[in-house]
Symmetry: C2
Subunit: 418 residues, 2 copies
């Protein structure tokens, strides 16, 4: 088989598996999750051995130490993967849920029922624990998954996939429900992205260039997760101690993640009181400020912000700052520079909170809370496969429900249309 | 401005209008709906005059009489358009609805709230009443709409748009919320399909070639409505009188629509009893049968079915027929040839009904009811903008809810993440 035929064969088998999986009982899917968890732990030595090959190659290729660390799986991390699967097993079954229903005047019972999407193509980089998480979420939601990890993790992913696929058979589920693309030929991705006949959704998780490439090439829908240029607005009526606590948390607790704050907008009426203080606090935390002229007047160590700074997702201890004349200017600024991910307002004023949450068009809009809460676990949705910055199908944290579609099941006793 | 600049200007204005519309009160949107309904009626003479220009051109171009009739607007049809808008005004507001909510252990209130999608590009053919329907549904759901109708209806659509846009201003809403592409240059569609920066969704409504072209070119999501190759399965345990009634309704009541039946699958155990009779009934209704060898044995006038017949959406008084050994063969056949639109089973057996509704992956699966019920009104969703054969975002009838996205509104009192 040439590459194209290999990809078609893989996708066709995923489709066939997805049809079986869609009607498999929830306890079979859970049995696979808990069985896989145990198997990962009992075969940890095999995984670590495969992982050591990837680590050696990464060191030889002089990958950055942070990258090498992301690649590493030790006993503790394997246990965490296993616990993740057990946690997914404990979540409610997202399949077969009656989302809505009504009985029509003619006696027809109309039920809107959640069903799996079908086949999901998941493209991701480095961290091999994602292999386990993504497979767990997809099988739990009745979807077949085609995994395409980074080539630097291929030995590890192959060992993990071997265990997961073996457990599918033991649980009475089709082994093709979890498949791994093992060729390092990048053209395989391009081939698979054309197979919308068998693949229902592609989820790229990684840098923006990967996501853009996939979005451009894919014939099927793409669940996109672009950057998070998250704003915090400190309103005139803010509790300033609360504002400080939230800003420090949103900027400093984990600056490298998409729901960290990247930009601070301060109402002019409290700027003179608040900005010198928060600038000082952030300076001591090692945060570089890039501000507008008024900001620089009030915080001497702030450097001048450029247009690019206001649009940037720094993922680092850098914060752009702007003093705004009023709430409307803050909303305009967010509409212009924001990425639709997460924005927060700190205010004690009801009208400001209402105006902000209504007018700001982002996946999550927070009032008096840290932007860092935009997360599947924190929202009570359970494990997530990503945070969507799209508005179509799923927005914000994507958990089990977001990996489902629905169908209408209509039951009658002979009704015909007049 | 050249064409590209014109399209960008139009899309940018739609985006600005959509931001205003998203925060406009429901009663303003309803005021526009009822105001437009009255204006359509009071300015019926203008519309009919514009329509007569399109009709004259259509007759000169020797359009088929059925096409010319679809194009025609008279006082009664204008009144129906106006009543449609009044009906939409009476539907519940789809915007700002709390879809789901929970209070987290840390006291955060998480609300999942419906919001408009933003800007919708609607491409459609012929019937000018669709102009009014689509604008009504979009504005009611807080979306701006860009309308691109067929060039054969341009005078009529211009007159209708003129009234709708004027009423926007009178209702205190942005006039750019409803825009019409008036250039006949087909390249305008291509330009607009690239503007995913400002346009959130495109809905093509028309023939399959239009939909395919749009799906291939569009940079933004597409709500697709492909063909409906709808099946009826008559199970071994069917009430045969009910089966007859439903088959005749699904095939003959309106053969030209997407939820009409195109294929009949009969369980072998009752074929000898049922097929000669139903074949005779259908013959008398003018239905041509294209069947498998067993069908042809039992119904002498049936012609031989080809592979293409089993895959076809006839939209005509033609029905493909196959005798199947059991329910599983019927499900396999549907999986192979079906279009995922609507399938029905006629059965008195609970296990058959459950197996069919679980295993068949179509937007609507009916038990003992006509396929013709797959419709927004019939499901109690109100007016619809189309029936989606996609599984992503919206499936089946797309009404006001399906024209919405959602966002998370999170309210705290100073929570930060540990």
């Amino acid at each position: 088989m040439n590459l194209k035929e290999q990809c078609e064969d893989l996708a066709r088998r995923a489709r066939a598996a997805s049809r079986q999986l869609a009607t498999a009982r929830g306890d079979w899917r859970n049995r696979w999750l808990t069985g896989s968890a145990s198997a990962l732990e009992s075969r940890a030595a095999d995984i670590i051995k495969a992982n050591s090959l990837d680590l050696a190659a990464a060191e030889q290729a002089r990958l950055a130490p942070a990258m090498v660390d992301r690649l590493r799986l030790d006993a503790a991390r394997i246990r965490a993967c296993a616990d993740g699967l057990r946690e997914i097993a404990g979540l409610p079954d997202p399949v077969g849920r009656v989302i809505d229903s009504n009985v029509r005047p003619n006696g027809l019972h109309v039920h809107k029922v959640s069903v799996p999407l079908g086949v999901i193509f998941f493209i991701y980089e480095s961290r091999p624990n994602v292999t386990v998480d993504a497979a767990g979420l997809c099988v739990k939601s009745g979807n077949a998954i085609i995994l395409r990890g980074g080539k630097e993790a291929l030995h590890t992913n192959t060992a993990l996939h071997d265990i997961l696929a073996g457990e599918l058979t033991r649980a009475g589920l089709p082994a093709d429900a979890v498949q791994l693309v093992t060729t390092v030929d990048r053209a395989a991705v391009g081939e698979l992205l054309q197979l919308d006949k068998w693949i229902d959704l592609v989820i790229p998780r990684g840098g923006e260039s990967l996501i853009r490439r996939v979005a451009e090439e894919a014939a099927m829908p793409v669940l996109k997760h672009y950057q998070g240029n998250c704003h915090i607005v400190v309103d005139r009526d803010a509790d300033l101690a609360m504002a400080e606590r939230i800003i420090v948390n949103a900027k400093c607790q984990r600056p490298g993640v998409c729901n960290a704050a990247e930009s601070l907008l301060v109402h002019a009426d409290i700027a003179r009181q608040f900005l010198p203080h928060i600038a000082d606090v952030l300076r001591r935390k090692g945060v570089e400020l890039r501000g507008c002229p008024v900001t620089r007047e009030l915080a001497a160590h702030a450097v001048a912000a450029t247009e690019a700074d206001y649009a940037a997702e720094f993922l680092d201890l850098i914060l752009s700052v702007k003093v705004v004349a009023n709430l409307e200017e803050a909303i305009e600024h967010i509409s212009r520079y924001g990425s639709g991910h997460t924005e927060a307002i700190i205010t004690g004023n009801l009208a400001s909170a209402q105006r902000f949450t209504t007018a700001v068009d982002s996946s999550a809009v927070m009032v008096n809370a840290s932007t860092r809460f935009n997360d599947g676990y924190e929202f009570g949705l359970g494990a997530e496969i990503g945070i969507s910055t799209d508005k179509f199908h799923a927005r914000g944290p994507c958990g089990l429900q977001e990996l489902c579609s629905y169908k209408y099941i209509v039951t009658g006793d002979g009704q015909v249309r007049e």
